[in-house]
Subunit: 245 residues, 2 copies
């Protein structure tokens, strides 16, 4: 059985914190990681501030198997992610020859200005994350994956980097619609959760199509038998409730 | 001139980290705080784990004027926010008499079970955040505002608590559509940013309706004159670019 593989996400950008841009990357990466057997454990969002980026990055990269960052790798003065990552790792940063060569094919000499050349600045020792459709590359340095903030580009980068990551035993999940209000099943559900310690049981209220309060019970486990046992216990509990009604 | 008022958000919930639920609260609260003159500085998302909640809460509440939490105040075993907050503050927690009284009006004796009574557990000294339409109340203890995870309920709670918060000088913002690619204006924009230190200038690329790459330049400042000066400098720079074309 493989070790458990964990991850943190670091979203970088004033525009998320001001509410101007609504983040769509956290949810996408969360679901993506779950699907490939990596446990997302923590997310942080910080501003375009070097000290804030480095502090959060250092906290996350020391705790989790991987850290995924989004945002701040464009051509303008507020794009400081690559430099901040280099500083966090204590390595140099310079124009990466492969990126410069690609830019030279893509841009006229006049377009190869200082701003665009910023997008070629890659920390020493990092591996590029690029493809024909990605202009400014992302990169991976040690356990940190640095990606664009634009969702479509970030998603393309995830597809490129995912096969290179080690993944753990995939978290399995199953769910049961309770046909009961959350407050009516909280007690027995707590007992089931206690009796099934290798599972995680979540309870999520929702308003059913019949406009009645209902509850979705989600069990997660890496062990299919333990998952099935907890689901069976929940179904038995719910059946008992309905008899009692 | 008032002090600058800052805030952090702490989103609590396994369902966000697994990707099962896509968070909608960060963007809402971010925009809300900007509108009332509070600077959102950091966001963290953690799982339904007491140690993780307490660590993040302590980090955020010691740094920022306010902390807003969402999630984990329902009736089931995975709703541990209120207990974690009490522990972080080192205060007791018990059934709040006002909440119990409201529940007694609302629920039958059979419905007043242990699970539902969990929603009446409020840390000692906290002020309730409630209204006729809110079942499980939120609360505010010192500088921490504890709210529901369900967006509609969280939003109702923000409306209740907002008038009680001190707010700073509102951050003003203005924006200019550059009609230029981000990479073409990054250099002069950096000089403008340097020359206008009391403003924050953000550069956000987008694909225009004409399908051409375009850039939105956003200037933020608490001082309307400094904001206007930076906007004027950006417009002059862009006019110069267009003459040069």
């Amino acid at each position: 059985m493989s070790d458990i593989v964990t991850a943190g996400i670091l979203v970088i950008g004033d525009e998320i914190l001001s509410g101007r841009t609504k983040d769509k990357n956290i949810g996408f990466i969360a679901e993506y990681l779950t699907n490939i057997g990596i446990d997302l454990t923590e997310v942080r969002v910080v501003s375009d501030d070097e000290a804030a980026i480095i502090e959060a990055l250092d906290a996350l990269r020391s705790r989790y198997t991987y850290v995924f960052t989004t945002g701040g790798i464009g051509p303008t003065h507020d794009d400081i992610t690559a430099d901040s990552v280099a500083k966090a790792f204590g390595v140099g940063i310079d124009h990466h020859p492969d990126v410069v060569a690609r830019f030279a094919q893509r841009f006229t000499p006049a377009e190869m200005n200082e701003a665009r050349m910023r997008m070629a600045r890659i920390p020493d020792g990092a591996d590029l994350i690029q493809s024909a459709t990605i202009l400014a590359p992302g990169f991976m340095i040690e356990n940190v994956v640095v990606m664009a903030g634009v969702p479509s580009i970030m998603q393309a980068m995830m597809d490129i980097v995912a096969p290179k990551l080690k993944s753990g035993v995939r978290m399995l999940s199953d769910s049961v619609k309770a046909n009961a209000r959350e407050g009516d099943i909280g007690g027995p559900l707590r007992e089931i959760a206690k009796a099934h310690p290798d599972t995680m049981i979540g309870s999520y209220p929702f308003l059913g199509e019949d406009n009645k309060p209902n509850t979705s019970l989600v069990v997660r486990s890496r062990d299919p038998e333990k998952l099935a046992a907890a689901i069976a216990a929940i179904k038995a509990m719910l059946a008992g409730l309905n008899v009692a009604k």
